[in-house]
């Protein structure tokens, strides 16, 4: 009985931790000289552990959930890209809109990764 309860407890903890680690990313890039829209959706449930860790690092390095959206997109700059990124991770969900002129350097690796995925039609 005790063993069963411990196993159940461990299983519950594991499930909670796994859910907190799960993430879903929606990415859209519009604008640019070509004006071609690209999209990507990335779900951790469909990725191997190595890829999951890589993306988690990119999210962490960008400080995505701590980033303060200024609402300043400077949309009057011709031909720049506009990016909309929504990440749901555990209980957290946030959408950030950026343009080439407002992308912080910390976001560039994440955007490069998502752009590559969108090009491949993933």
């Amino acid at each position: 009985m005790v063993i069963y309860l411990v196993a159940f407890w461990l299983g519950s903890v594991y499930n909670i931790l796994e859910k907190q680690d799960n993430f879903n990313i929606q990415f859209q890039r519009t604008g640019g000289f070509a004006g071609i829209v690209t999209n990507a959706e990335i779900d951790s449930k469909r990725l191997d552990t190595e890829e999951i860790e890589k993306i988690k690092l990119l999210i962490s390095q960008s400080n995505f959930f701590g980033f303060q959206q200024t609402d300043s997109l400077s949309k009057n700059i011709p031909d720049q890209f506009q990016y909309v990124i929504t990440i749901k991770q555990g209980d957290k969900k946030k959408t950030i809109e950026l343009t080439d002129s407002t992308v912080p350097d910390s976001f560039i690796p994440l955007i490069n990764y998502l752009t590559q995925k969108s090009r491949k039609g993933n």
Partner: protein, 378 residues
């Protein structure tokens, strides 16, 4: 010289935060929008000036008609401007991107100076600053309010997966980006909805004219493609846009189909891409092609002249397609006479894309012949 040339010190320009300016452009009235755009243009220039080109390299005094090209290599990073790799008069570097940016900026300067008597982007001998190798896998080019910036395409992907070549590969792209600067200093068309699509279209028009002039092609000989050579062989497409047949430039499993309309009946209502500025530009693009086709010969000589004078003298930041149509008709009369073949060609070009001239709706400025033409009914 316009106010934008002078960069007046307006205290309001210093206090309005950018997000508020964006909101004004989105929701404000015409006067509010014009003021906000002026603010935004200056703010963007100030922002880009923070990463300024060393003053010692720039000319201290512009000489009329003498171009000064400066090519920088960002070395696939985000820090601008990067390393200076070629200045005016220097020999070729051997780097295709740097040399194409140099040659393309020169050909664009020459078109504006030799044909339209315009001295560089600001008509005051402004340096032509280009930055190549911007970021990694950056499949784009843009005008940042002060300089032209070019990426290398999707060179970060394996060769077999690449869709884009470097963005300096097509000279009309260089002319396109530089013309965004000209528009900024002239009409100041806001980058949204129809004014934004006009902004894009003027860049395509003069980008195409740069290419046609370099190739010594008449309107009948030109391909009227924008960005030919930019796609790799993996893409099913000839170019990014077709001015002659909007919507036919590419049709690819990965990129989708060229979404440009060539007629007002197919105008695309969207909030994406600032209201479809790269989509609906197909309509005025085709109108220009139609005018050039009707007039024959070299498109920069008459059609280009009409479009240039319209951009310089007649349009403002909120001008829409109908205003542009009416103003080109008015400029054609000023340059070539009322009911001249040139003026009738302009009328036909716009008519073919579903824009019927209505002189009562003109919103342009500086209508020297306004009252004279007001009674003309088409």
């Amino acid at each position: 010289m316009t106010e934008q040339h002078q960069h007046p010190h307006d205290p309001i320009n210093c206090i309005i935060p950018p997000h508020m300016v964006d909101k004004i452009i989105e929701n404000g009235g015409k006067d509010q929008i014009e003021r906000a755009v002026k603010t935004l243009n200056i703010s963007d220039q100030i922002r880009s000036a923070r990463q300024s080109v060393p003053e010692a390299i720039k000319r201290t005094q512009a000489v009329a008609g003498q171009k000064n090209r400066l090519i920088y290599d960002a070395q696939n990073g985000s820090t601008l401007p990067g390393t200076l790799v070629r200045s005016e008069g220097d020999p070729a570097t051997g780097d295709p991107a740097a040399d194409e940016a140099y040659d393309g900026a020169g050909a664009t300067f020459d078109l504006y100076y030799e044909i339209f008597e315009r001295d560089s982007i600001d008509n005051n001998g402004m340096d032509l600053i280009s930055i190549v190798h911007y970021l990694q896998g950056y499949d784009n080019a843009f005008w940042n309010g002060e300089r032209m910036v070019y990426g290398d395409g999707d060179e970060d992907l394996p060769v077999s997966q690449r869709l884009f070549n470097r963005f300096t590969i097509a000279i009309d792209i260089i002319g396109h980006e530089l013309t965004h600067g000209v528009t900024q200093y002239e009409a100041g068309l806001i980058y949204k909805d129809q004014p934004g699509a006009l902004n894009e279209s003027f860049s395509d028009v003069f980008g195409s004219l740069v290419k046609q002039r370099i190739n010594n092609q008449t309107a009948a000989q030109a391909d009227w493609l924008i960005g030919a050579g930019l796609f790799t062989s993996k893409v099913n497409g000839n170019a990014i846009r077709s001015m002659k047949n909007p919507g036919t430039a590419y049709d690819d499993p990965l990129l989708g189909k060229d979404p440009q309309p060539g007629h007002m009946n197919n105008y695309v209502q969207t909030t994406s891409d600032n209201g479809g500025v790269h989509i609906n530009s197909g309509i005025p693009n085709r109108a220009f092609y139609g005018v050039a086709r009707e007039l024959g010969g070299y498109a920069w000589e008459k059609a280009g002249k009409i479009w240039y004078v319209t951009l310089r003298d007649k349009l403002n930041s909120t001008s829409d397609f109908h205003t542009a149509a009416n103003m080109t008709f008015e400029v054609a009369a000023e340059l070539y006479g009322k009911n001249s073949p040139e003026q009738l060609a302009v009328q036909k070009g716009w008519d073919e894309v579903g824009i019927v001239l209505n002189l009562d709706k003109r919103k342009g400025c500086g209508n020297i012949f306004g009252s004279f033409l007001a009674g003309i009914s088409l």
